[in-house]
């Protein structure tokens, strides 16, 4: 299963980015191969529609779960539409810590 985690930078030591649509990077983690790929969020600075664009972006990676500090109100119905489960983590955690939690 693939999981998208919002990340402030592009390494395993980076902190979770609290924003979903306007996060800096997405860490795409595969729980089977245990590999994590960091991809820049192409819609970080768009004027409008960053959230829906981010849903489209991670859906194209065929992820089943998304982890972020929060999800905007325009997002929830779209996430259901593409069958991505939302996980909210509000503590400051690194991508590595979150990946360890996912693999427990």
């Amino acid at each position: 299963m693939k999981v998208a985690i919002t990340s402030r930078s592009n390494s395993m030591d980076s902190l979770l980015d609290p924003r979903f649509g306007r996060c800096a990077y997405f860490a795409i983690h595969d729980t089977e191969t245990k590999e994590t790929e960091f991809v820049k969020n192409p819609n970080m600075d768009v004027n409008e529609g960053a959230g829906p664009s981010a849903v489209k972006f991670i859906a194209s990676y065929k992820v089943e779960k998304a982890v972020a500090g929060e999800f905007g109100f325009k997002i929830k119905s779209l996430m259901n539409q593409v069958n991505i489960q939302m996980i909210v983590i509000q503590e400051e955690k690194t991508i590595k810590e979150i990946v360890d939690m996912l693999n427990k």
């Binding site: 819609n43 768009v46 409008e48 529609g49 829906p52 664009s53 849903v55 489209k56 859906a59 194209s60 065929k62 325009k74 779209l78 539409q81 593409v82």
Partner: protein, 289 residues
């Protein structure tokens, strides 16, 4: 003559000036129409005892995506400047995000497969009201939850200027963005209401720059004079911008306003001041047209 009452900063007294100016124009015997163009928050008509005559709905274009005809090429998604088409080809997902759509129709131009059907959605209304003397008022109103105010402002002004009045007072939305510009471009003269504070000055400068860029004639009413500092005055003097009048900061005026009453009907001094403003605006209008 179309006169817009505008200000960069909110809460400087646009509606106060519009309503009292309207009353003054009327009492001086001028054929005048009051139009509320602040469609996101129309409130000018609260100061009058009115009955609704009629309402015209304003609609905006919306595409309907036919998923049977769609080949998931993504061209409509690419054409959309507002990211209003949610498109995930990997999952064969495509849908319109209504609250992001501006109704520009680019998607319908993009689609080569006839998968986009034209439709429309109600975004607001233009209403006509009348008082006991059968005097007409016009109000534009954006529907709750909708974001596109411009088509409603356009329609409101179009309807208003088609009525036979010599003077049309347009109470504008605050700010210096599209709603303000939309009202200003349809006006012959713009009254900028400014307060003499640092915020007031900052937003006044932006209003002035905007009006200069579209070549409009304008003057400034300083509202709540006596507050703040002299920076607004210095700026107006340096830039040769005419001050139409100063309305003093007054608890009495504020009290009448908060009760939904027109200060010009209750305070003799304010009445005289607005008569002067009215004459100055008319003089300005005749010299430009």
């Amino acid at each position: 003559m179309n006169i817009a009452i505008a200000s960069g900063k909110g809460g400087t007294g646009k509606t106060f000036v519009s309503t009292n100016l309207f009353k003054t124009f009327q009492s001086l015997g001028h054929s005048t129409l009051l139009v509320d163009c602040d469609v996101e928050c129309p409130n000018s008509l609260l100061f009058f005892n009115l009955k609704k005559l009629s309402e015209t709905k304003v609609e905006e274009y919306r595409p309907i995506i036919d998923k049977d005809k769609c080949v998931y090429c993504g061209l409509c998604h690419e054409y959309c400047e507002y990211k209003a088409i949610f498109y995930v080809p990997e999952l064969k997902q495509i849908m319109l995000l209504d609250n992001l759509c501006h109704g520009c129709k680019a998607c319908s131009v993009a689609c080569e497969y006839g998968a986009i059907e034209d439709s429309s959605t109600e975004i607001g209304s233009v209403s006509f009201f009348a008082d006991a003397n059968k005097h007409v008022f016009v109000e534009g109103r954006l529907k709750e939850g909708k974001i596109a105010s411009i088509p409603i402002i356009k329609e409101t002004i179009k309807e208003a200027v088609s009525l036979p009045y010599d003077y049309v007072i347009l109470d504008s939305s605050p700010g210096t963005s599209c709603p303000f510009i939309q009202t200003a471009v349809r006006s012959d003269y713009i009254v900028l209401v400014a307060e003499p504070t640092p915020f007031g000055l900052s937003d006044l400068k932006q209003s002035v720059e905007t009006l200069d860029s579209i070549n409009k004639d304008y003057g400034v009413i300083i509202n709540r004079s006596g507050l703040g500092d002299i920076e607004v005055y210095n700026y107006l003097q340096e830039n040769n911008i005419p001050i139409i009048a100063e309305i003093p900061f007054s608890k009495e005026i504020a009290r009448y306003y908060s009760e939904g009453k027109l200060a010009v009907s209750h305070i003799e001094e304010t009445k005289k001041l607005f008569e002067k403003i009215c004459k100055k605006i008319i003089k300005n209008g005749t010299s430009i047209s």
